[in-house]
């Protein structure tokens, strides 16, 4: 039964290979296969989500090699949640791309599937080096997706993006080297056992390795001061690629949550809380810088990119608490932030494509074809992103404020979150009024399209916006699951014993 765990990795891998080798020149077949694979992946993710919701940690020993030696994939509630989020987002973004975005360059669908392979693998693996490999798979596909559509800007921004990620990968390998050199293992469950027993003489080396490891995750999660790549890369990427990348920053957040609870959690002896002095200040500054960026943006895409940076700051403020309410709030906010970031990237692309040479710059220009619809959507998306009631951003921020109520740093945390929300509110109000109202008030006004029909891409944005409304409406059940996940994360002993004690007896298994 546990063998199903590998399906989210295997399915995109096979689909991508088949798309490249067999139907390379046939866009129609590519679309059918890619969409079909995404539907199956979504069904598999729902199945695994229901399987994991009983709170049991399920390991899969690849090749039946016993745990500390072979590669192990682990399905727990956090992995299942992330898989479901990825599959749902991928399906929605793919539907959007089918409206013509996928024919702007070759190989969109294979790259899309390879990207899913890397992301799903990173969420499932229980081995640090394997995590590195899945990061690389994810990144190399994202390089291709980022360049999709071509053009000078994408090439130049792509060079920055690739270079910074290659440096991050190098640092990742240095961290892995240090951790393996000290503990002699790379299995995450085994690390949770070995790290507390570190010899006093090797503690400094292990500490260096741990901080290097977290700095790599901070690059992925766009934490200040390692966030500068994000506005450049996401601002240059095409709409479906940027929307899918909304989950990539969450891979960094996932890795921070995983390692901060499992390996370097409170039970880690001398290494307990190794990033505690860094995480909260970095998260607070990230939120402040993101909010300032939102206010300073001169283009809609910059506005969205800095909102993503700000949302990562908010998320990691909640992670810093490492208790059930904090982690639960962080997970709720993670789901919300993924949906709303994707919706904003797609919406900005649709709006900018109708504004002629002004594109997404914040200045009065041609009226868009459906001003009421687009401005209404922008208003809703802005409300959700800033965290105004009644959409899910408000619920998420409220949960985070509540979780940090008893923190020693409550003054700094609350004032940053509330102040940043106000600044972002001003930024969004200014952007929306310039783009939508300023156009209506002068000679640039054109007659709106009188029909009531809604184009397909806009309908897909509406689905994403509806998701945030539903998240707000069903906040109770979602939080119940997030709390259960947080409690499972805070008891790493269950994870460790499930992985290490469930091992097959003989190395390699019996033939």
């Amino acid at each position: 039964m546990n063998n199903w765990i590998i399906l989210p990795v295997l399915l995109p891998a096979m689909t991508a290979a088949f798309l490249v080798l067999a139907v390379r020149y046939n866009l129609a077949s590519q679309r059918i296969l890619s969409t079909g694979a995404c539907i199956v992946l979504l069904a598999a993710a729902i199945g695994l989500f229901m399987l994991a919701s009983d709170g049991v940690v399920r390991p899969l020993y690849v090749g039946a090699w016993p745990a500390p030696f072979g590669i192990v994939l682990v399905l727990d509630q956090l992995s299942a949640l992330m898989l479901l989020l990825t599959a749902a987002l991928a399906f929605i973004v793919l539907c959007f791309a089918l409206y013509g975005w996928d024919q702007r360059g070759p190989y969109f669908h294979p790259l899309f599937q390879f990207q899913l392979l890397g992301i799903n693998g990173a969420f499932l693996t229980g081995d640090v080096f394997n995590l590195f490999v899945f990061f690389e798979v994810m990144l190399i596909a994202s390089y291709g997706l980022m360049l999709h559509g071509g053009g000078r800007w994408r090439l130049k921004a792509g060079f920055h993006y690739v270079a910074i990620n290659l440096i991050a990968s190098t640092v990742f390998l240095f961290a892995i080297g240090l951790i393996y050199g000290v503990t002699g293992t790379l299995n995450m469950a085994d690390l949770a056992v070995k790290v507390p027993q570190v010899a006093p003489g090797s503690e400094a080396l292990l500490r260096t390795g741990a901080v290097l490891l977290f700095s790599v995750f901070a690059v992925k999660a766009a934490l200040v001061p390692l966030h500068w790549w994000l506005p450049g890369a996401y601002g240059a990427a095409s709409a479906p690629a940027a929307a899918l990348f909304a989950i990539m920053t969450k891979v960094g957040a996932y890795s921070i949550i995983r390692f901060d609870t499992l390996v370097f959690g409170p039970q880690a002896g001398p290494l307990a809380g190794v990033i505690d002095p860094l995480l909260l200040p970095a998260a607070l500054i990230t939120l402040a810088v993101g909010a300032a960026g939102v206010l300073a943006s001169t283009r809609l895409l910059d506005l969205v990119c800095f909102s993503v940076v700000a949302s990562m700051g908010t998320l990691l403020i909640a992670v810093d608490r490492l208790d059930a309410p904090g982690l639960g709030a962080a997970l709720y906010y993670l789901v919300h932030s993924t949906a709303i970031s994707a919706a904003l990237f797609l919406l900005v692309d649709v709006v900018a494509s109708e504004r002629g040479p002004a594109a997404d710059t914040l200045r009065p220009a041609e009226q868009v074809s459906r001003p009421m619809l687009y401005s209404g959507f922008f208003l809703l998306a802005g409300i959700a992103m800033v965290g105004m009631p009644p959409l899910s951003g408000f619920v998420g921020k409220l949960l985070i404020l509540d979780a940090t109520r008893n923190s020693a740093h409550v003054a700094a945390t609350w004032s940053t979150i509330l102040g940043a929300s106000l600044i972002m509110l001003v930024g969004y109000a200014r952007a929306g009024s310039t783009v939508f109202w300023a156009a209506a008030s002068d000679k640039l006004r054109v007659e709106a399209v009188p029909t009531l029909t809604i184009p397909g891409p806009v309908l897909i944005i509406a689905i994403l916006l509806a998701t945030t409304a539903l998240l707000s409406l069903f906040a109770g059940p979602v939080m119940a699951f997030a709390d259960a996940t947080a409690r499972q994360l805070l008891e790493p002993a269950g994870y460790v014993s499930a992985v290490l004690e469930g091992s097959p007896a003989t190395p390699g298994g019996s033939p």
Binding site: R152, L155, F159, L166, T170, A352, S353
Partner: protein, 124 residues
């Protein structure tokens, strides 16, 4: 020997870090190469330095070299090779499209397309 290996890794990293901070794409690519050399060497010695020891365990040898870092290094070499090939192609394409190998993004470069149709909309 520890001093020799450690200073070699340190030198490679220093050269890589210096070159990565240059303004042209070519030194940046070379710098990334140096960084990957440094980390491959680092990974290789993380199983401790051992001379004339077999990597595969058998009952009649006294000690053996840790084989896992060797496998990790191979994987890291393959990945960094692929990534380097990609960034070389990327910088070549950038050079051919813009006529310069400057890393910075100027206002002229900030042109991109929006929407699903092949129509160009840029910023002035």
């Amino acid at each position: 020997m520890e001093l020799l290996v450690a200073s070699a890794i340190g030198l490679l990293t220093a050269v890589g870090a210096y070159l990565v901070l240059r303004r042209r794409t070519f030194p940046v690519v070379i710098g990334l190469l140096f960084l990957s050399y440094a980390v491959n060497l680092f990974l290789f010695v993380m199983g401790r330095l051992a001379i004339d020891k077999p990597a595969i365990y058998s009952p009649d040898v006294a000690g053996y070299a840790d084989p896992l870092p060797q496998a990790l290094t191979l994987t890291a070499i393959v990945i960094s090779f692929g990534m380097t090939a990609l960034i070389v192609v990327l910088s070549l394409r950038g050079f051919l499209e813009t006529g310069a190998n400057d890393v910075t993004i100027g206002p002229d470069d900030m042109q991109r397309t929006f929407g699903s149709q092949q129509k160009r909309s840029g910023h002035e």
